[in-house]
């Protein structure tokens, strides 16, 4: 059901954890299936220098979270905002159709984290 790449990110998720001194935090959830993702970013000179996630959800939700942290790390905020759900799915060699909407929360959580950072007036 899942691609090898997705299983790798599920089994060995990158950048898991909390970040107490985060510059921005974004949370995104799907009330239907319960999947919930919390994303923390550390920003220096408009660049994401560190990123961490916590996720409640299925294999796809966890792999999506892991993948978006890899994709966003090192990017400028404007570049990071361009990452789409489809980009994340493609990077994982695809998601099963029924997981495309419920578990693909990464791009939205990242956008919210960036908005949160900007709201804080940094």
């Amino acid at each position: 059901m899942y691609s090898q790449k997705l299983m790798d990110h599920f089994t060995n998720p990158r950048n898991v954890g909390e970040m107490p001194d985060a510059d921005g935090v974004g949370m995104e959830g799907n009330p239907t299936c319960g999947d919930t993702m919390k994303l923390f970013i550390k920003v220096e000179n408009e660049k994401i220098v560190d990123i961490k996630f916590q996720t409640f959800g299925c294999g796809a939700a966890i792999a999506v979270s892991s993948m978006i942290t890899e994709m966003a790390k090192g990017k400028t905020l404007d570049e990071a905002l361009l990452i789409s759900k489809q980009d994340v799915a493609d990077a994982l060699d695809g998601l099963p159709p029924q997981k495309m909407h419920c578990s693909n929360l990464g791009a939205d959580a990242l956008r919210k984290a960036i908005e949160d950072y900007r709201k804080r007036g940094n």
Partner: protein, 397 residues
Amino acid sequence: MKRLYFDHVATNPLLPEVFEVMEPYFKGEFGNPLSMYDLGFTAKQGIDKAREQVGALINAKAAEIIFTSSGAEANNFAVKGLAMSRQNDGNHVIISKAEHHSVLNTARSLEKQGFVVTYLPLDKYGLVDPAAVKGAINKDTVLISITHANSEVGTIEPIQEISEIAREHKITFHADGVATVGNMEVDVKALGVDALSIAAHQFYGPKGAGALYLRAGQRILPLIYGGIQENGRRAGTENVPAIVGMGKAAELTKEKLPERMAHVKTLRDRCIEGLSKVEKVHLTGHRTLRLPGHASFVVEFIEGEGMLLMLLSKSIYAASGSACTSKALKASPTLASMGIPTSLTHGSIVFSFGIGNEMEDVESLLTEFPAIVGKLRAMSPFAKEGWRPEDMKTEES
């Protein structure tokens, strides 16, 4: 890695002795049981014998067994065929929130044909209250269909009490016995049911074979019309090898049931004892009124599919009723009806044991499981703060 298969409610492996008696019917004995020559006679004899064997397993007469293609077909046949056969008496059907989809969705289909269906709620153990059955009966009630046991939480329903109520009110009573027949003693006379569904693969028989027990004298309308097979009640050339296999599996089950039950019960009790000690892991269903090989839980703060995938990486096979594992992404109506909050139903996990499992296999599970729960909780935003997904408000919702 040794495969630790703990998903016997999904299906069971075919016993070699069963395959052995099926094999000739795939090869030389290919005749149609209706044919008037030797090949036909042999096939018919195979089916007749199987009918005796399946009947004997549930204390029914051979003539009361109608072979079907599956437990689901038996359930469709019973719910539709029994309700339709009494259309002149009324249009009300009672089922429960513990039913398998093959009963639930068939009842829903009856609603589109003018029937009114009552869906009885469950208590926190997953039990249907016989008093609630009684309370739901009205002058139009023609059929009650309640599962003998629910395969998600393993709870065994009070079928005998419900059948007495049904009889008093002259209402036809069907029980879905797919989860129970072959896994515990089932005596249709003692239960007092008019009809009971059976699936062969639940007791180490082949897939593609099921049966409906129909009490002698009970009317039913066919689901499949055609020839005179199964006394005109279920048309279609018989799946002879599967039926023969079902018969053999029933015979072996009757012989070995006490031994099998004792074996899986020991494994189940060890599993429940061990996993209940893991923090924030809760048993679902009833502690004692449950299927002998069935242990089901909800695990707080994490989700079922993630658990299944991690268990699989340790070669452990289990099941979950979480929304994410269902293609429809919907939470189980059974768990919801038991009052288990959605946040917990996401973390549902079911282990069901069979004759191929050993105590050391269960011990391996007890060793691996806490680590898997720990790993997923370390990733969960809820583990530390105790948030629940439904507390989460998103902009979209």
